[in-house]
Subunit: 240 residues, 2 copies
DNA sequence: CGAGACATTGAGTAGGTTCAAAGACCGTGG
DNA sequence: CCACGGTCTTTGAACCTACTCAATGTCTCG
């Protein structure tokens, strides 16, 4: 590849999506093609990405931050149906409306692909479509895991499972070969209310469970939204 | 297409998968190719299809009956994470293990495609892969709807939602243009325990909710597993 | 007709919600 | 720099929904 291309791709080199997400399926040349139709967009915490039940005009990869997908019942009850971290994708690839509400939970950076050109690219690059299929299948598997949590786990197990899930996802990237026994630090960007909506609990219950885990020494809380997990193994046992 | 092909395809003509499932994406010629690698298999109610956490050797379309996907917690708590009706598909298309337990809930007939040859076919026929992707996206959407039910709905709403969901799915096929207000008959092949495991409730609670709906005249019960819904609209209101 | 599986109903309990109040954190402006 | 207001979190108390345990009823199939 010549120097010009290298320059053009600049930002992509350090992007999670390039290394383990959608773009992982692409050659440098294809990546360049994709980049030409893409534009980056930043969202502030709380900003709306998709309103739901509307035709969206782009499909996007999450480059940084956390995106929260929620569904709302007629009377305001909410359920978080997905948390997207890099290198996940937001939006529905093929035509249809996204049947949920997408919101930036933290500062978020998306790499947006307008629908028409993206689908063209999908049709032209089989590896890309294959990759998208696999990511969708993985998401379906996680959704099913979450159904078990929502339907059958106790409040304590739910909270432990969430912490564990986030640690696991975070570790996937800054993994420097350390073992499972190591204490871990976790930044939880969600507020208690959001955690509750994700776990199918009231926020008060979330609070109480966190307090209980602290008292048992399973977790520590250096600051409000930061946790230390001195013993991930114990947490896993509680999570079931 | 010549008469020989028509003969070969015989069974496929009347198959739900051909009309609205995977095979819908195929020409007659491609269908014939797919049929050559497929074999049908029947399962009795309760029979295991996949054990979970194992490499499966086929991917399959549900031609008739109901397949139940469940996950089990260490202490026996169960959660049904999917009900597959024709023309849904069972199994994981791309390589990985199926992380759940698949079981025939009724008499079931599958059309099984051995992994190797099926993936070859997927790669050769873009429309097929596209179709698989779309079905997977739809399944993900349903899973998320179910998360709302599990996390945020009351027992009453859960039971109403289940009945409504099954009616909707059943109607999709024998739809003769009738309106929504018409009374509907529904055969529920699941036992109370399974309904509970699907809704995240105990079977006693399922019973009580069904009884309550009967007393309110929202549903009738001609026989143990058959229901009449005189007023689907009212049920929808309850379901939320 | 009897046995076993499944469904229903009742009574008591517990886990989680709701309502309420107090405490901690954060950014803003005086 | 500190005081102030708003938002978020924590904790307590009362309540309620759904669970558990237990007994009875009903269907199905040999």
């Amino acid at each position: 590849m010549d120097a010009g291309k290298a320059l053009d791709l600049g930002r992509c080199y350090s992007c999670a999506v390039r290394h383990s997400g959608l773009c992982n399926a692409l050659t440098d040349d294809e990546l360049l093609r994709l980049k030409k139709i893409a534009h980056r967009r930043r969202y502030a915490p709380g900003e709306v990405i998709f309103l739901g039940e509307e035709q969206t005009d782009f499909f996007a990869a999450v480059c940084s931050g956390v995106v929260k997908l929620t569904k709302v019942l007629f009377d305001g009850r909410q359920q978080v149906v997905g948390l997207l971290l890099p290198p996940d994708c937001v939006g529905r690839a093929c035509g249809k409306k996204t049947p949920y509400f997408a919101e930036a939970a933290t500062e978020v950076e998306l790499c947006c692909f307008p629908h028409g050109s993206f689908e063209q690219m999908l049709d032209g690059v089989p590896e890309l479509k294959q990759r998208l299929l696999e990511q969708t299948l993985d998401e379906l598997d996680s959704a099913r895991d979450w159904m078990v949590l929502l339907g059958r786990k106790t409040a304590e197990e739910k909270v432990a499972s969430l912490l564990l899930m986030l640690v696991t996802r975070a570790k996937r990237f800054d993994d420097s070969g350390e073992d499972q026994q190591q204490p871990v630090v976790l930044d939880l960007h969600l507020k208690r209310q959001e955690i509750g909506d994700f776990l199918g609990l009231s926020y008060e219950t979330v609070c109480r469970q966190i307090t209980a885990l602290k008292k048992r020494g399973i977790i520590e809380q250096p600051s409000r939204r930061r946790f230390r997990l001195p013993n991930p193994q114990a947490l896993a046992t509680i999570a079931g």
